[in-house]
């Protein structure tokens, strides 16, 4: 299994959760991980750096010979009014969220196609369907992930690779630490169930997408709340 953005937040929780389940895990982030587990391999890279990502996959293929599951978790957000958002921020968010997810999905599919099976899980967000003010760029980048998920599902179907996405509500991680409390409260009020997402809400959906019985489930975006 490969999990991007695995140094902290949801990514790190995913590593711990799936290590516990016995998976060999390759993870990556820009900075070194401050933890280690037997069976966990960490790479320091920018998920949009094509050469480094290809090198990582070459090494993974050489040492493991296969990849069963990719979880495209790496993502960055920047809550700001559109009028105050620099283009550099737009490029950074799209680079990590869209280019990074595409690049990992493409390279993962190249490995998975050899065995004609695989699971790719992308990360969307409820900020897209909820059209949250202040999230124009983040939500747009994740809207791209929705379309990417749906089209890759079709293109990779020939190789029995499924591509789905989970769209979580806010989970208390670094990603939303800078969001003002009143904004978070307003967001929770809009949800049918007024609480933050839990990590287990996410793994519940991922577990469903990656189970062998879900080989007929592809191109789906499952929002945890809307």
């Amino acid at each position: 299994m490969l999990i991007t953005g695995s140094r902290k937040g949801i990514g790190r929780n995913l590593v711990e959760y799936y290590i516990e389940k016995g998976y060999v895990i390759y993870g990556c982030s820009r900075e070194a991980a401050d933890y280690s587990y037997p069976g966990y391999h960490h790479y320091c890279l920018d998920v949009a750096d094509e050469q480094k990502v290809r090198q990582m996959f070459a090494e993974l293929l050489k040492s493991q010979g296969r990849l069963d599951i990719l979880i495209n978790n790496a993502g960055i957000a920047s809550m700001n009014h559109a009028l105050l958002t620099p283009v550099a921020t737009v490029q950074k968010i799209f680079s990590t969220n869209v280019v990074g997810s595409f690049l990992f999905a493409r390279e993962a599919a190249k490995v998975m196609m050899k065995r004609k099976t695989g699971r790719i899980v992308n990360f969307a967000t409820v900020a897209t369907p909820m059209k949250l003010a202040g999230e124009a760029i983040y939500a747009s980048s994740k809207a791209a992930i929705v379309t990417l998920t749906q089209i890759l599902a079709r293109e990779f179907a020939d190789y029995n690779i499924t591509v789905n996405a989970v769209g979580p509500t806010p989970v208390l991680t670094d990603l939303i630490r800078s969001v003002p409390q009143d904004k978070m409260d307003a967001l929770l009020r809009q949800q049918a169930i007024h609480r933050f997402g839990e990590f287990s809400d996410i793994t519940n959906v991922i577990d469903f997408f990656i189970r062998p019985e879900s080989d007929f489930v592809t191109g789906q975006v499952l929002y945890l709340e809307e």
Binding site: R54, Q55, A58, L61, K110, M113, D158
Partner: protein, 101 residues
């Protein structure tokens, strides 16, 4: 073995790997003269995609050189590199030499 022969070898190995998944009658002849894509080409677009992916992987594994066969440069060539096994082999040699020199 010179680089040209090595690339031929890798390309033929990629063709053999692709052939394992093709039905009898649609297998690709591992010969330099085989027409791959376009007028008189034997490959459909998906099989060409598969061949490109497998060839890139074989080059990377054997020579530790990362090449991208299907980029804007390839698409803008006057003569498509994907026309025949020979043109594809020549294009790979060009890319590998550029990366290693």
């Amino acid at each position: 073995m010179n680089i040209e022969s090595r690339i031929d070898q890798l390309l033929f190995a990629a063709i053999e790997e692709i052939n394992e998944h093709l039905p009898a009658g649609q297998k690709i002849q591992a010969e330099k003269s085989t027409q791959l894509f376009g007028h008189r080409g034997v490959l459909d677009s998906l099989t060409l995609v598969n061949l490109i992916v497998v060839t890139e992987q074989k080059v990377q594994e054997a020579l530790n050189v990362v090449i991208t066969l299907a980029d804007e440069r390839a698409m803008s060539q006057k003569n498509s590199p994907f026309k025949s096994v020979e043109s594809l082999a020549n294009y790979i040699v060009l890319l590998v030499k550029e990366k290693t020199n």
